[in-house]
Amino acid sequence: MTANTQEQEQELDLTRACEIAEEEVGSQGPVIRVLQRVQAEYGYIPPDFLPEMAEILEVPLARIFGALTFYSQFYTEPRGKYVVKVCVGTACHVQGSKNILDRLKETLEVDAGETTPDMMFTLEPVACIGSCGLAPLCLINTETAAHMTPAGMVEKVNAIQERESAPVAEES
């Protein structure tokens, strides 16, 4: 779903990622830490980095790939400017979070876990953010929206779309 992945990969500079890996050489069990730090830096883990990482840490590539794909919080593709998270934990589920997710899929025309072609929104169901008293709960990046309804979320997303498509939209 990411139309400009190719373009981005071409110009991606892996120097910083390699530096991070170098820094962790010799520390105990470095794989997850390196992945976490690289992701914090790049927003995702560039697949091209993995062979380099294996070489620097002297860890088999398969093991790194194993850890990377095991954990749900590692991403191998760039994500949207706005990550819309819909909590689908038990408390939110019984309060109707599925309806919110369904409406957002329709509105954004993406499936769960996907990013819109314009790299603006990533829709992500998450299992429990731990604020069950405020169910159903959604997150747009770090901003929380408590006691949400499908219509309420669509409104929020539309507001962002409008703001972003305004002629003076700032580039971050």
Binding site: F70, Y71, Q73, F74, T90, V94, G133, L134
Partner: protein
């Protein structure tokens, strides 16, 4: 149940330990003592994850702006979660010589009024006040007409040991922790032998609060007796159960109580290093913990030669990366070591072969948070509370369709009715009755109304087919479909099964297939038999706890809600109107009051309504989103 009484001792914060067995013990309430020489009013804002989600951040700015505008000064502190999720955001205000007053549901609308009444007029704002906390050890002039905080129905039956400071003390302040009796357990522990500590923990009857309920003293003894000098103590803060957030409350609201418990545990087993494995979904908790660790080191409670005892321990935080199975102890250890979080065959147990192959002891956050009080007050003191087999208190995350969702701590053995009706305030929708309480997250089970009078402890829940788990309680009403609930949990387990062993990987996937078929109206009667068979097989043959308990939601549904499942299969009907493909909404003419409340929420305009006309649903355009059903206060849409 222990009736709460006011603490009467001079030192507010020391719980009186019973001299002999049978002495009624008392868990005093925690109050932050008024700082000596301070004149400025104090303001506490509930700024845990849930408070922040409810808008506490903006509220703090507004309070600051208001103070500036009125040329007033106040000490503003963030506090964690006191448990009243239903009343967020919470703001507490105290002026010198008066009790601290807790205000509920504070918003920009009533904030200025509250601040003016409290700080300028010298009265408490009655409309917004939840209650006042009158500290019996300071001479405070109570406010008239404001209820006592601890006498409110939500708190009346609670006994707070683990959560005593959550939402009360500034979570950034080690001084607040010490001023409220903190680190006294550790001070006592360094004077005891490891046998004495283990003995106290044994007397307390404390069992693993992560869910399995293994006696803590025994775990500690195994780890202490294990050979090798290089030992590890690990805290499992990978609270992954959806619907559970009690550990988060402790991590955010009272991080030092966890550290103190861990240090005592480390001292007992002789660990040199400690890890707190915290899920990455709790960024605030990680930040607060890091701060607490640095403070404890500075004060000499952590690091080299702790309190001059010659014992040294360092603690670091390992951040998870999003894998539910990492709450399983062997998987957690693998994840700490930077690998895929896969469980392993036991033995060897972590007590002999854990992190980096060294003897390791792993306990859950809540277990550790109990330790300091147990060591300080003695095991008998703790064992006063609870049921025959489960001692002490247990925190529960009470959510779902109750009026007052939140975090509660009650003595083990408290009935489900007391939890749901007295503390939780009953069901949200008066006319829609209680259907089931779901205990123990995705590996737990749904207990129907006939269990209302059951006292909650490890054994009673197991007997009912549920488990204690970490303590999530999701209350469901007639609008919740039990087949869909079982499907929901199975979907979660399928996602989170690590895939290492076949019974769990394939068993859960097969069960999900069958459950999906049933909720789509394509079920067959023999499906129930199949579910039963696969459940038994998965339970008996899975490698780790995750698979062994994964069929529980299916089994309890088969056991208590068999008729509902049959209805899905035979009549192709979902009585809860939850399974999309099995419903067709209609307006019941006799019940419709023609109010029109159902029209605005309809996203597809399938709901047709005109003034003074009974509403009508167009089945062609209806997407069965249920928005109208939820909006109708008269239950006229079925």
């Amino acid at each position: 149940m222990a009736e709460e009484t006011k603490s009467s001792g001079a030192a507010v914060l020391d719980a009186p330990a019973p001299e002999s067995e049978g002495t009624p013990s008392v868990m005093p309430k925690r109050y932050v003592p008024w700082p000596e020489g301070a004149d400025k009013p104090r303001i506490w804002i509930g700024m845990g994850t849930c408070g922040t989600a409810a808008g506490a951040e903006a509220l703090k700015e507004e309070i600051e702006a208001w103070l500036q505008e009125h040329e007033l000064e106040a000490d503003i502190s963030p506090v964690g979660c006191v448990g009243m999720c239903h009343n967020e955001p919470l703001v507490d205000i105290q002026v010198k010589g008066r009790p601290r007053v807790s205000y509920k549901k504070v918003s920009s609308k009533n904030l200025a009024q509250i601040l003016k009444e409290h700080l300028v007029d010298g009265a408490a704002s009655k409309r917004a006040a939840f209650g006042q906390l009158v500290n019996p050890d300071e001479s405070q002039e109570p406010y008239e007409g404001i209820p006592n905080f601890h006498e409110e129905p939500f708190f009346k039956d609670q006994v707070k040991i683990v959560m005593q400071r959550c939402g009360v003390i500034d979570y950034r302040s080690i001084d607040d922790y010490i001023a409220t009796g903190g680190y006294q357990g550790l001070k006592k522990a360094v004077t005891l032998t490891s046998d004495q500590i283990i003995d106290e923990v044994k007397k307390s009857g404390l069992r693993g609060r992560g869910g399995a309920g293994f006696p803590t003293w025994m775990k500690w003894k195994f780890a202490r007796d294990a050979e090798g000098d290089d030992k590890y103590i690990v805290c499992n803060a990978d609270e992954g159960d959806p619907g559970a957030f009690m550990d988060r409350a402790v991590l955010e609201g009272d991080p030092h109580s966890l550290l103190e418990g861990m240090i005592i545990g480390g001292l007992t087993i002789g660990a040199r290093h400690g890890y707190i494995y915290c899920r990455a979904e709790y960024p605030l908790a990680i930040k607060i913990l890091n701060n607490a660790i640095a403070q404890a080191q500075e004060k000499g409670f952590l690091g080299e030669n702790i309190l001059g005892s010659g014992y040294s321990l360092d603690i670091s935080i390992k951040e998870g990366a999003g894998a539910y199975v990492c709450g399983e102890e062997m998987a957690l250890l693998n994840s700490i070591m930077g690998e895929r979080g896969m469980p392993m065959i036991k033995p060897p147990f972590p007590a002999t072969r854990g992190v980096w192959g060294k003897p390791t002891n792993i306990n859950n956050v809540e277990t550790f948070a109990n330790i300091a009080e147990i060591v300080k007050n003695g095991g008998d003191w703790y064992a006063y509370w609870g049921s025959e087999t489960t001692k002490g208190t247990k925190t529960f995350a009470l959510t779902g369709k109750v009026k007052r969702p939140g975090l509660v701590e009650v003595p083990a053995g408290t009935t489900i009715r007391s939890l749901v009706e007295e503390i939780g305030g009953g069901m949200v929708l008066k006319k829609v009755g209680f259907k089931a309480a779901q205990f123990g997250g995705p590996s737990g089970g749904c207990l129907p109304a006939e269990f209302m009078e059951t006292g909650i402890d490890y054994e009673s829940l197991n007997a009912g087919g549920a488990i204690m788990g970490s303590g999530g309680v999701v209350v469901m009403d007639e609008y919740n479909c039990m087949v869909d609930t079982a499907r929901f949990f199975m979907e979660f387990t399928v996602d989170e099964s690590c895939g290492k062993c076949t019974p769990c990987r394939d068993g859960t996937a097969l069960m999900l297939q069958i459950l999906e078929r049933i909720t789509h109206g394509e079920g067959q009667l023999e499906d129930m038999e199949k579910l039963d068979q696969i459940s038994g097989f998965t339970k008996a043959n899975s490698l780790c706890g995750l698979g062994q308990v994964a069929p529980n939601p299916v089994l309890t549904t088969l056991r208590y809600f068999r008729d509902e499942m049959e209805e899905h299969i035979v009549e192709k009907k979902c009585r809860a109107h939850s399974c999309d493909e099995l419903i067709e909404y209609v307006v019941v003419e006799d019940s419709c009051t023609t109010c029109g409340l159902c029209k605005p929420p309809c996203p597809t305009d399938a709901l047709e309504w005109e003034k003074k006309q009974v509403a009508f649903i167009n089945h062609e355009t209806c997407i069965r989103c249920k928005a109208c059903v939820m909006a109708c206060p008269f239950m006229a849409i079925k």
